[in-house]
Amino acid sequence: MTKYIIKRVIMALITLLIITFVLFLLVRIMPGNPFPSERMSAAAIAKKRAEMGLDNPMMVQFWNYIKTLITTGSFGNGSALYNGAPISSVLPVAMSNSFRIGGIAILFGVFVGLILGIAAALNRGHFWDVFCTVLSIIGVCVPSYVFMIFLQYFFAYKVTIFPFYFDSARFLHSAIMPALSLSLFSMSTVARFTRNEMVEVMDSDYVLLASAKGMYGTKLVTKHILRNALIPIVTVIAPLIVDLLTGALVVEKIYGINGIGKLMVDSITGEGVDYNYVLALGILYSALYIVIMLILDIAYGLLDPRIRVSSSKEG
């Protein structure tokens, strides 16, 4: 198992390094202007370029970038956003906002989705099953941001239960709506998957055998059915978290949350695209994605011994 984890971690690190390099290269090579040129003289631009080391060879620039990133944790300064404040001072605030809301959303979505799925599988053809099907259809065909818009319209505008905009001073109260709307999609997907997997496992021979041996109730569900049904569900959670990242972009726009999604949008839609922000956020997003994949890979190995064995035989 240790060997499996080490191998996975090393591969993830290499992938991240390659992606960082490609992103760096793309952002630096491509034509595009980090400075809104009509407001700066040519000499000022040249001075700024030299200051930022944009005239060095590409490999040197990359090496410097990685070196400062690892030793000081600094992504450099933004050029247009927040008056050129260091990115590493802006990021933590944004990350804490985004992660807290995203975390609530994914926990809520997976938890409620699991319960709904289990309820649907145990009461096939009854209320919870129908409810689960309807929910999954809504979750698939209504994009989460549409759901957000309606939530906001009804619960913040028509009936003022929740505040219209996010306010980090009253975190829980104002985070409920964004988190709820973000979690809809993951909830419906997890519910549908859980239901289908549970039904498949419940029809299998070993569950029949277990119940023939006299096992019933909670023990049968948790020990035999759920554990086997959970394995494929782990695989859906990874793309869900990624969807959450993109969904967060819109939810942050709609609810006015100062998160990484809003930073990303600001850095690419403002006048004069901000090189350093795009690069920093690109690395951050890719790293997040890779770490999530890594964790789920390992969780997958822990849950299903067969995968662990076959992959350690290979390598």
């Binding site: 991240l16 690419i268 997003y285």
Partner: protein
């Protein structure tokens, strides 16, 4: 001799005695009699079509898609207004009035329910979905936007299919070192979130339709290539490929003439699920502000426009949202239907 005569006469009597009538051959309608199509000998694709059209949800999906496509083609033209046309109407006193932010108005219906004509400046002009804050006809814009969104989805998915399928087939066919390298590349490409690609693209591309298309092109081919590779690995061990090799077919022929036609089923399923993803991504990018630019519009940019005025003019956001939801629903239904029709499970038969 006598016996024979007797028999003949008996026979004749029986024939005379009973002549079958039409009523004797009535089909018993209360029994569930259908043709057994599952085991009848028929072509593969015919079976797929039969199973597909027996699926109610899939048929509903197809009907919705066809309706939306028809409306997207003819819709913008039947209202008589251009998608970017700012509508000004001359009122009774001869002044030109900007027809902005009108709720949906259909004079005929209004008269039917209230018994009188509209008594404002706009007389008997019809706006099925109303107008937006700039005074443009929303009916035209919604269907024009649907056209743009569908076009983006179809174009990118077809190109992605060609790229992804070739990549996957080649990777799977040659195996060995080539496969390892190509799969490592896919792995790395797959670990870059789409958002990051959009961000990087936005550093050097102008915002608009092409940014959306390129972003979709760069991400959607991966799923397609994975499926094509898996199919190739399955098919290349079969006898007919060996036969083809023995007869001296070159690699190109084997990959694209022998294997490709047999991978089409799973690929179609993947396409059906990719199209809603593409429509959704476009809507989402336009909503955030890196997609379609004014005065052009797409479903996403219309939702974005509607969202800015949701508290005062909530009806503006409804038509694009409903069209988007219907499209997503329909393509998902059709995708499920195609998947089930292509790979029927025994219990469905």
């Amino acid at each position: 001799m006598k016996k024979k005569n007797l028999k003949a006469s008996l026979n004749a009597a029986a024939v005379e005695a009973y002549i079958p009538k039409d009523e004797d051959f009535v089909l018993e309608m209360d029994q569930d009699i259908t043709t057994d199509r599952n085991y009848a000998s028929q072509g593969f694709w015919k079976g797929v079509f039969t199973r597909f059209f027996k699926n109610v949800r899939a048929v509903i999906g197809i009907v919705i898609i066809v309706l939306i496509i028809i409306l997207a083609v003819i819709g913008p033209n039947i209202s008589g207004h251009g998608y970017a046309e700012v509508i000004k109407i001359t009122n009774d006193s001869g002044k030109k009035v900007l027809a902005k932010s009108l709720p949906p108005r259909i004079p005929g219906l209004h008269k039917l329910f209230t018994g009188e004509d509209y008594d404002d400046d706009f007389g008997d002009s019809t706006f099925l979905f109303g107008t937006d804050t700039m005074g443009r006809d929303l009916w035209t814009r919604v269907w024009y936007g649907a056209r743009v969104s569908l076009l983006i989805a179809f174009v990118t998915i077809i190109i992605d299919m060609i790229i992804g399928m070739s990549y996957g087939l080649i990777s799977g066919f040659f195996g060995g070192v080539a496969d390892v390298i190509m799969q490592r590349f896919v792995e790395v490409a797959n670990s870059v979130p789409r958002l990051v690609i959009v961000g990087v693209l936005a550093t050097f591309m102008t915002k608009g339709i092409w940014l959306v298309i390129v972003a979709l092109l760069l991400t959607e081919w991966i799923g397609m290539s994975k499926i094509a590779r898996a199919e190739m690995l399955k098919i290349k061990e079969q006898e007919y490929i060996m036969a083809s090799k023995t007869l001296g077919a070159n690699n190109f022929t084997i990959i694209f003439k022998d294997v490709l036609p047999n991978t089409i089923g799973p690929i179609i399923t993947q396409i059906m699920f990719s199209i809603p993803t593409a429509i959704f991504t476009e809507a989402f990018l336009s909503f955030v502000g890196v997609g379609i630019v004014l005065p052009q519009c797409s479903i996403g940019s219309l939702i974005s426009d509607g969202f800015t005025n949701i508290t005062t003019l909530p009806y503006q956001i409804l038509p694009p949202i409903i069209v988007l939801a219907l499209l997503m629903l329909a393509f998902n239904f059709v995708g499920d239907g195609v998947r089930e029709a292509l790979a029927p499970r025994i219990e469905d038969m």
